[in-house]
């Protein structure tokens, strides 16, 4: 039996592993994909203390090496559920079952999809969820950004420097996001706003050739020829597997405050997957420390 099982090897989970190992607890980290989490998509991190510039890949690799050198065990299996019988908790993965005294859920979040027909098949063929990753493929081309939040606005600004034309398809007629970015975008001659509209259809041959947008107020549809569509309509937490045991909020995030405590004693939540205001690399790491400290205290209370 492990002292602590951590689900998710992103910045929150791996920081928790470092803290728990430094408190001499045995630690298993379960990860569905690869260590690092979504930060590996960031080419340049500029807002984490210590390094003025570091790539997400390098950051993740350093934290991984640090956790591993301290003795955290990493297993690459997807956790699908937790059962709790008080002092012993079982974490089920797609392949195995592991026992522990305390669990830290740090599964983060994934890109929200539009949920329209053909979307999955067009990923990599014109549909993207990451402008900084894939923008380079659209130099001199026409693209659309779906969304109206800060990510969408920043994506549009990034793409406006590369693409010939950028459409921003937004379901409202105003933006809640950063005003400076909105004003900068409005001054760009190659940016066009499509307000009160949703992307309702993807038109493709071998790859995306156009999108259909529907005006929410008039119901009118129009087809916009594009080479690429960048979907930036937010993120969704990946907590469904734990919903039977753990209380989630309406949006699916684990109901846990800054103390990282869930409704179940001995199960803690860290990082983007819990209810919180600021979802940043540094706050994820901070959660890792808080959750690990609480988990260590819980394990000690059983002894």
């Amino acid at each position: 039996m492990y002292d602590i099982i951590i689900i998710g090897a992103g910045p929150a989970g791996m920081t928790a592993a470092i803290y728990a190992r430094r408190a001499s607890k045995s630690v298993l980290v379960l990860e569905a994909l690869t260590y690092g989490g979504q930060i590996i998509n960031t080419p340049d991190i500029e807002n984490y203390p210590v390094a003025a510039h570091i790539s997400g890949f390098e950051f993740a690799t350093k934290v991984y090496e640090q956790a591993e050198a301290l003795g955290a065990e990493f297993v690459f299996e997807k956790a699908v559920g937790i059962t709790d019988s008080g002092t012993c908790k079982k974490v089920k993965t797609t392949e195995n079952e592991y026992e522990c005294k305390a669990v830290i859920i740090a599964t983060g979040s994934a890109n929200r999809k539009l949920g329209i027909e053909g979307e999955d098949g067009l990923v990599g063929r014109g549909v993207s969820y990451c402008a900084t990753c894939d923008g380079a493929f659209y130099r001199g081309k026409t693209v659309a950004v779906a969304g109206g939040g800060n990510t969408a606005l920043e994506d549009a600004l990034y793409l406006a420097d590369l693409a010939e034309k950028v459409y921003i398809v937004h379901r409202r007629d105003s933006f809640r996001g950063d005003e400076t970015t909105v004003n900068t975008l409005k001054q760009r001659s190659n940016v066009e706003f499509v307000y009160n509209s949703n992307v309702t259809k993807l038109i493709a041959d071998k790859r995306l050739t156009a999108i259909e947008v529907t005006d929410k107020l008039t119901g009118e549809t129009r087809e916009i020829p594009v080479d690429g569509l960048f979907v930036a309509i937010g993120r969704v937490p990946e907590n469904r597997g734990f919903a039977q045991l753990i209380t989630l909020d309406d949006a699916g995030y684990i109901s846990a405050g800054e103390d990282c405590l869930t409704n179940v004693p001995g199960i803690f939540a860290a990082g983007d997957g819990r209810t919180k205001d600021v979802r940043q690399l540094v706050t994820a790491a901070s959660d890792g420390a808080v959750a690990a400290t609480a988990a260590v205290r819980f394990v000690a209370s059983l002894e």
Binding site: A32, L33, T34, G36, I39, I40, N41, T42, P43, S55, G56, F57, A60, F76, V123, G124, R125, G126, S128, C130, C133, D134, A136, F137, Y138, K206, R207, G228
Partner: protein
């Protein structure tokens, strides 16, 4: 380390290959691509019936354009000189093996 294929060698290394070829389209600035690399290196060593090569899309934008690559990492399987399937994005090892075996 995977063998780097260029526009000059693509025909010979990929299209004319006797064995099926897994082409890894990647770039230095792409974090998920760097993440995927060690797994592909290992698979290349282990698999006798498949050749695994790398195409750097910044140096070889013509190949990337020709094969409609617009998100990386992008893995394209070639058999008998033609694309048979592709996989976009970072995948864990068991899924990569499934993808390679079709």
């Amino acid at each position: 380390m995977l063998k780097e294929v260029t526009a000059a060698t693509f025909e010979n290394e990929v299209l004319q290959s006797d064995k099926p070829v897994l082409v890894d389209f990647n770039a230095d600035w792409c974090g998920p691509c760097q993440m995927l690399k060690p797994t592909l290196d290992k698979l290349a060593e282990e698999l006798d019936n498949v050749k695994v090569v790398s195409v750097n899309i910044d140096n070889e934008d013509e190949i990337a354009y020709k094969y409609n690559v617009s998100s990386i990492p992008c893995l394209v399987m070639f058999e008998g000189g033609a694309e048979v399937r592709r996989s976009v994005g970072l995948k864990p090892r068991p899924e990569l093996i499934k993808f390679i075996n079709g």
